[in-house]
């Protein structure tokens, strides 16, 4: 039999028979990325004089690095790590391959490319495979952010919980949900095992794997909410530092 295909839909960018609103999802994600990147660039490169207020340190500038002679934004030294962690994250990869690279823009929607496609087999995309190393760094950064949240509980020698404390803590919590639901972490803590019940140690790993799995099921949710809270936490501290907002104290001992 002749094997030529008369495919009903020619393969070109955006070509599809889908009649539903498939464009909305990539468009919204594109806008989300754009908004966040613009804000971070502005804060990190042009607006970096406002980094802390009282006990609160903006998560963009934590830990506070001060080097003699360094006259640029400290964010440059810090932000590459979360950026790399998120850029190699399995969820975000899906999001930007679709919304930015349009490969594919949506399911069953045509796109450019053709047979030369190499996926994540060649440089630079093969580097996605080092995600777990960025995870190790991200866990360290997360620990430091928790220290910041702890520090934010006292002010001038007194225990003081302000709105800022809540903001920083919620941010840490969501970042923890995101980081601890990481696919690479899920593999490392137990997913790599074939058998969960074959030894006591394996069973222990299984329990941890189950916790990570539960967070992992909502990985996209934690990815976006934590992106939102980290930006908001920074914005909140910035507004306090700039003297535009005042921090309300919720509890003082």
């Amino acid at each position: 039999m002749n094997q030529t295909t008369t495919s009903p839909v020619p393969a070109k960018l955006g070509a599809t028979s889908r009649s539903n609103a498939w464009l909305i999802e990539p468009a919204v994600i594109f806008c989300g990325f754009a908004l966040f990147v613009c804000y971070v660039t502005w804060r990190a490169l042009y607006d970096w004089q406002y980094i802390e207020w009282g006990p609160y340190l903006s998560p963009f500038f934590s830990p506070k690095l001060i080097f003699p002679g360094w006259q640029w934004s400290p964010a440059i030294l810090l932000l590459w790590e979360p950026a790399a962690f998120r850029a190699t994250c399995y969820y975000f990869r899906k999001a930007y391959y679709r919304a930015l690279f349009l490969d594919p823009p949506a399911c069953a929607v045509g796109h450019l490319g053709g047979h030369k496609y190499t996926g994540e087999n060649r440089f630079p995309l093969i580097l996605q495979n080092v995600h777990r190393y960025f995870l190790y760094l991200a866990l360290t950064v997360l620990a430091l952010l928790w220290v910041d949240a702890f520090v934010a509980c006292s002010y001038r020698g007194h225990i003081r919980i302000g709105v800022g404390t809540v903001v920083l803590t919620v941010n840490c919590l969501l970042l923890s949900f995101y980081t601890c639901g990481c696919h690479a972490l899920r593999h490392l803590v137990g997913g790599r095992l074939k058998c969960f019940s074959c030894s006591t140690a394996a069973h222990g790993q299984f329990k941890i794997w189950q916790c990570v799995t539960r967070l992992n099921e909502r990985h996209a949710l934690w990815a976006w909410t934590s992106l939102g809270t980290v930006a908001f936490a920074d914005f909140y501290v910035r507004m306090l530092a700039a003297g535009v907002w005042t921090d309300i104290s919720l509890l003082q001992l």
Partner: protein, 245 residues
Amino acid sequence: MREAILKVFRGTPVEAGKFITYKVPVEEGMVVLDAIHYIQGYLDPELSVRWNCKAAKCGSCSAEVNGDPSLMCKTRMDQFAEGEEITIEPIKTFPLIKDLVTDVSFNYEVNKQIPPFCPADDATWIFKQEDIDRVQEFRKCIECFLCQDVCHVLRDHERKDAFWGPRFFVRSAGVEMHPLDCGNRIPLLEEQGGLGFCNITKCCTEVCPEEIHITDNAIIALKERVVDEYHDPLAALLRRVFKGK
């Protein structure tokens, strides 16, 4: 009685395809496959379609309904607006045979390449439910090949030469994660299966009628195993140290 308008793709590899419009009376609870059967039974006995169980258990009636890869037996007619034209096309990734039937033999060829389950000789065959929950999810697959259809590596980039497709990563994961299996299919998956071509855009998971978490539970889990063996210097070092003991 309400009528539905179906635009059904008709064609063969040699003659150009066209859409033919049929009007079909709609009963309560009707699915797209019922409408296709109505066309066969009353309007056009030649209309070609594959189907078997009509209960989403065999995965035969895969098609693209209004552009969405779906099982016709699971796609309800009442989700479409009154008077809406419903387009029905064959799955696009595989060569057309006739009308809604395509040549899916690629999948059977790939399946042969996956080394079978190989238990240890001294296996006791005692293992817990917690060991097999993962594997059982993968084994729910009904081989409708909708994931193969929607995967852009096969669909748009046409890399059937170097890429097995989501179905066979799920199948591989099913044996690879069996608690008693002692094989290692990771090098094969990386070097012949083309796991690295997958850019985890998750369309396979979106279309899976069995709701298997293809990407999160099978593909990414396998990709991480590939990282262990190919891309993680620390893991390689640890392996060497422990092997040395």
